[in-house]
């Protein structure tokens, strides 16, 4: 029986329909042609998208100006990732579309790699060229010798292509160069990886502990927003960082730790929480495994012990541990995101996970919530063929806990080596500038030189395109459809990306490229829909929506299947670990032959006259991807090297002066970098923002500006558990004599 409220709603809808009809009649009578009407609608309308400037993928609306040109992007208020507020990079995403340095036409190499000798080609030519090469490589070496590196939405379609051909090698630098150790550690502890966006209930937390995470400088939008909410609510923030980060400036406690000693601090915190019995006893008893082992393990790891290592005052270690316990379970020891630092990163993140477990924050309000991801049916296609071999066979007994393809693993396996039989022969690189992403550039180049085919798909002439055999110019996210965004969050949501403009120049969406290649390679049945919009409409109709509806709303929110954002009191939770419990003592690590509980090991320290090279993010840039974006270079067009005044005095450095940096292996920065003398950095390290010092002249706005940290990271500390590439074990010194060198500014 319809209630009165429903009746009113139905009536209102009826009235609305009548009015829309009347408006339609008026429009018809106004003498506009259909074309004119379409233009008018396009001009006044807004189109939904989700952002591609970083991995957070906030959903928003693209607005055009009177001339129909893309003008601005504003967050969709329904979206949980952004709550209607884009970050500077998302707002500046328009610059990606307007950048006049964009790749414009498909390019085919005419000379040696690295010589920038390309000819413009038609799409047909480029596709034929690639398909021909892939056919030969597949026949000779097997399809497994084709690998994909991806950090972008378009990777999805190339991934389908590769799997259809029979290669499992889909690698994302976001794993082994970024958050891999964290995922492995949380998997080992709670039986679940954290994924993206992380399920952190920051808005309701009473205590946020940031250890090496510079939230606010990394603009992980939702988290920055919630940190601000937490500040409003009076939450305590504890920041551990050798640098006085922006977040440290908002913290009740800033622990200016000696670099590379975080694990000792974490263990000391665990020690205090156990020895002072501050842990959540019922929670630990009910949900965890191995508490007694842990207690025994950390027995001697007292704050006094940690003081000698970390230089943090023992009373501060105790006080901060008590702050956490007082706030528990509404406390978050932030797991961070870019955590590949010293090669023992999985173990450090294990300590973070254990600390959270002791405080009972997992599954609790103000701690870690349980996410839900919307289940969207995939378009129907035949089963993928089973690959005959994988990269893993090339690394026996190594990286046993890696649960995905390692970008650096594929790279290493590509470098000719008599001990390996599967050499990779072809790479497809989509939306990731491997030259700036993978440490040890020399090694990357060795691998590239050994390839038979390197296809790069990008919107910008990034350094990696210079090494490609074929460059495929992708249109930006503002000019294409992509798969629906179905990331995990408090509520299941889907978000649509639809084009706000026709692709500029001769660019195409990745979907089209992958499908055209699939056509030529005889695997078209894996791409049942000719157009992305048809696939989206089909998918949406399976779940009771449609493309038309999504174009109007952009984001659709669904109810959770269960009201289980947090654990119920006394809920019996089954964790996906071997013991079914939160493993303080990890059986998985033990089984793989690693320490079941984290141990502190000392890391190499800078030699005299050298300083540890730390790097991080600026809120207005995403990796090296945005450094040529006109709107964002306007905010920051070069990086600087932060130097403590004591060090500056010793070297006679002053703010604004340009210097070269040289690392422990004699590697010199390609370009000089500006000095910033600041109290915000410790005397034993220097700091710079990642993503500058571009060497590709076609990037006219950012070429030669600032220095590249990747360039100076020649020493890589590999995590034996999962192959993560630790990048914070490099040390640099200054060269102040630029000897007439020209500074690009």
């Amino acid at each position: 029986m319809a209630t009165r409220r429903q009746f009113i709603r139905i009536s209102a809808m009826g009235a609305g329909a009548v009015m829309a009809g009347a408006a339609g009649i008026r429009l018809l009578g106004s003498g506009l042609t259909d074309g004119q009407k379409a233009t008018l609608a396009a001009l006044t309308g807004r189109t939904p998208t989700y952002c591609e400037v970083c991995f957070w993928k906030c959903a928003g609306w693209v607005y055009r100006d009177e001339k129909g040109s893309i003008k601005k992007i504003i967050g969709n208020s329904e979206d949980q990732n952004c709550n209607g507020r884009f970050c500077p990079r998302g707002t500046g995403g328009v610059g990606m579309y307007h950048d006049e340095d964009r790749l414009r036409k498909p390019l085919i190499r005419t000379d040696d790699r690295g010589t920038q000798s390309f000819r413009e080609a038609t799409w047909e030519e480029a596709f034929d060229y690639i398909a021909e090469k892939i056919k030969v490589i597949s026949a000779e070496h097997g399809p497994e010798c084709i690998a994909l590196f991806t950090h972008g939405s378009g990777g999805k379609y190339f991934s389908t292509l590769l799997r259809a051909l029979g290669s499992p090698h889909i690698a994302a630098p976001s794993y082994a160069q970024c958050r891999g150790p964290r995922e492995v550690a949380f998997q080992a502890t709670f039986g679940e990886a954290l994924d993206s966006p992380e399920p952190l209930d920051i808005r309701d937390t009473k205590c946020l502990v940031l250890i090496g995470s510079h939230l606010g400088e990394n603009m992980h939008n939702g988290q920055v927003q919630e940190m601000s909410d937490a500040i409003d609510k009076g939450a305590t923030i504890i920041t551990v960082d050798p640098r006085f980060s922006t977040a440290a400036g908002k913290s009740k406690y800033w622990l200016p730790i000696k670099p590379a000693t975080d694990l000792a601090l974490l263990l000391a915190w665990i020690n205090v929480i156990i020895s002072e019995e501050l842990y959540d006893k019922p929670y630990v008893e009910k949900y965890t495994y191995g508490f007694e082992y842990l207690k025994e393990h950390v027995k001697n790891m007292t704050p006094e012990w940690a003081y000698g290592i970390t230089t943090i005052d023992p009373t501060v270690i105790r006080e901060t541990a008590r702050e956490m316990a007082n706030a528990a379970p509404a406390v978050i020891v932030h797991p961070g995101r870019h955590v590949t630092w010293y090669g023992d990163d999985t173990q450090r993140l294990r300590a973070v996970a254990i600390l959270n477990a002791l405080l009972g924050s997992w599954g609790r309000r103000g701690g870690f919530f349980r996410t839900e991801t919307f289940a969207l049916p995939e378009p129907p296609h035949p089963a993928y063929p089973t690959p005959k071999r994988t990269w893993r066979t090339e690394f026996p007994d190594l990286y046993k806990l890696a649960d995905t393809v390692l970008a650096n693993g594929v790279c290493d396996a590509t470098v000719p080596d008599p001990s390996r039989n599967c050499k990779f022969q072809a790479w497809i690189v989509n939306g990731t500038n491997l030259m700036e992403t993978l440490p040890n550039q020399e090694n990357t180049l060795k691998a590239i030189q050994a390839l038979q085919l390197l296809v790069v798909v990008d919107t910008m002439p990034m350094e990696i395109t210079g090494w490609a055999d074929v460059v495929l110019p992708e249109c930006t996210y503002l000019e294409r459809y992509d798969d629906l965004r179905v990331g995990p969050h408090r509520k299941p949501q889907i978000a649509l990306r639809s084009p706000a403009a026709e692709p500029s120049y001769d660019t195409k969406p990745a979907f089209y490229m992958a499908r055209e290649l699939a056509k030529r390679l005889g695997v078209i049945e894996y791409f049942p829909f000719e157009k992305m919009e048809d696939q989206l409409d089909w998918q949406l109709k399976q779940v009771g929506s449609s493309l038309d509806e999504m174009k109007k709303i952009g984001v659709k929110t669904f109810d959770r299947t269960a009201d289980d954002l947090y654990f119920y009191p006394d809920e019996n939770v089954e964790f996906y670990t071997a013991t079914g419990k939160i493993e303080l003592y990890s059986t998985a690590l033990e089984g793989a032959g690693f320490d079941p509980m984290p141990k502190y090991t000392a890391h190499e320290e800078p030699p005299a006259g050298f300083y540890r090279l730390n790097y991080g993010r600026a809120p207005m840039h995403t990796f090296s991807r945005t450094s040529n974006n006109p709107n964002l270079t306007d905010l920051m067009d070069e990086n600087s090297v932060w130097v403590n005044p004591r060090v500056a005095k010793e070297w006679g450095l002053s703010t604004g002066q340009y210097v070269h940096l040289v690392n422990q292996d004699g590697k010199r920065s390609e370009f000089p970098i500006k000095v910033r003398v600041t109290e915000r950095i410790r005397w034993d390290s220097v700091y710079m923002v990642h993503g500058f010092g571009h060497q590709e002249k076609k990037l006219r706005r950012c070429y030669g500006k600032g220095a590249s940290d990747t360039n100076l990271i020649t020493k890589v500390l590999v995590d034996p558990l999962m192959g993560g590439t630790g990048m914070r074990g490099n040390f640099v010194t200054f060269v102040t004599d630029l000897a007439g060198e020209e500074v690009v500014s």
Partner: protein, 313 residues
């Protein structure tokens, strides 16, 4: 250590890293305006004192500099405008609180008056000058009859123009270096001394030269007094004004100010003037040119340094 940074990459042209909205045409314009004011002031003054015949150069000949200087000055001002096509908007309103506005009107009056004054004395240079048209002749007759009121207008507006070039700057409290009421009298004095120096340079009459050398000396002394006065004011004032004074007391403008403005522009010509009065024969060219250059340098230094002085960052 205190570190203050704009971290959003602000690089507004002509504003960052430090204000530079006014370029060389502005001090040039201020100098030419001041010079014209000085020249016209003495012309009108000695005419009104009934000394037209005695001081012919001052009253009749030197004023010919004025319209040329004013037109050049206005051209320089126009050149430095960023939105030139809308120049005429200046003359659609009078805004009493805006020195720029009443200055524009003042310039209109004084430029017109200076042209008329010169027209009345054109036969000084072209004895057989003929205006050809009757209406022009009528105008000449009219102003010859009313030369006294005209001289009064010139006298008053010359003072306003001279003061205005200083007030234009001193009205900006955003630029601590400019923000001193001494600047009006100082600019007037500088303009008058430039005017007096021009007369000394142009006059062939020894009596006239000596008179204007005396006048010049008095004005230079006054200038020196005003400069000392100005620094005393700055140093006894707020922090930003103390900092502004430092631009000349050890800061980047120290050398150019003390050497070109004070020593070469005031002290040396003053000493030379004194020697001339004591009977030593000094070529008039040297102190005259030095005073003009000093007056010019003074405006340059002040316009440029003033833009550097600031409250923030």
């Amino acid at each position: 250590m205190n570190e203050e940074l704009i971290i959003s990459g602000r690089e507004n042209l002509m504003v960052d890293p430090q204000l530079h909205i006014w370029h060389w045409p502005i001090p040039l314009y201020l100098f030419l305006g001041g010079l014209a004011a000085g020249v016209l002031f003495f012309a009108a003054l000695y005419y009104l004192l009934g000394k037209e015949e005695q001081y012919r150069a001052a009253v009749r000949r030197v004023p010919f500099i004025a319209p040329v200087a004013l037109v050049l000055g206005l051209a320089a001002l126009f050149y430095d405008l960023n939105h030139k096509a809308f120049f005429w908007q200046l003359y659609t309103t009078i805004r009493i609180q805006s020195p720029m506005s009443w200055g524009a009107w003042t310039l209109l009056v004084i430029t017109t008056a200076s042209f008329i004054w010169c027209a009345l004395h054109i036969r000084e240079f072209f004895p057989r000058w003929d205006w050809k048209y009757k209406w022009l002749k009528d105008i000449e007759v009219f102003f010859n009859k009313n030369k006294k009121p005209l001289a009064w207008v010139i006298l008053i507006f010359a003072i306003i123009t001279g003061v205005y070039t200083g007030i234009l700057l001193s009205a900006f409290n955003a630029r601590p270096l400019w923000n001193t009421s001494v600047l009006g009298p100082l600019f007037l004095a500088s303009g008058l001394s430039a005017g007096a120096a021009s007369i000394v340079l142009a006059s062939k009459n020894r009596e006239e030269r000596l008179l204007f050398t005396k006048i010049d000396l008095i004005i230079l002394g006054t200038e020196l007094f005003l400069i000392v006065h100005m620094f005393m004011g700055f140093l006894a004032s707020t922090q930003v004004q103390q900092e502004a004074a430092q631009l000349f007391l050890g800061g980047p403008y120290t050398m150019v100010f003390w050497i070109f403005v004070v020593v070469l522009g005031i002290i040396i010509p003053g000493v030379l003037d004194l020697m001339e009065l004591w009977g030593k024969h000094i070529p008039a060219l040297i102190p005259g040119v030095l005073v003009l250059m000093g007056s010019f340098a003074f405006r340059f230094v002040f316009v440029f340094a003033g833009q550097v002085s600031r409250w923030l960052y």
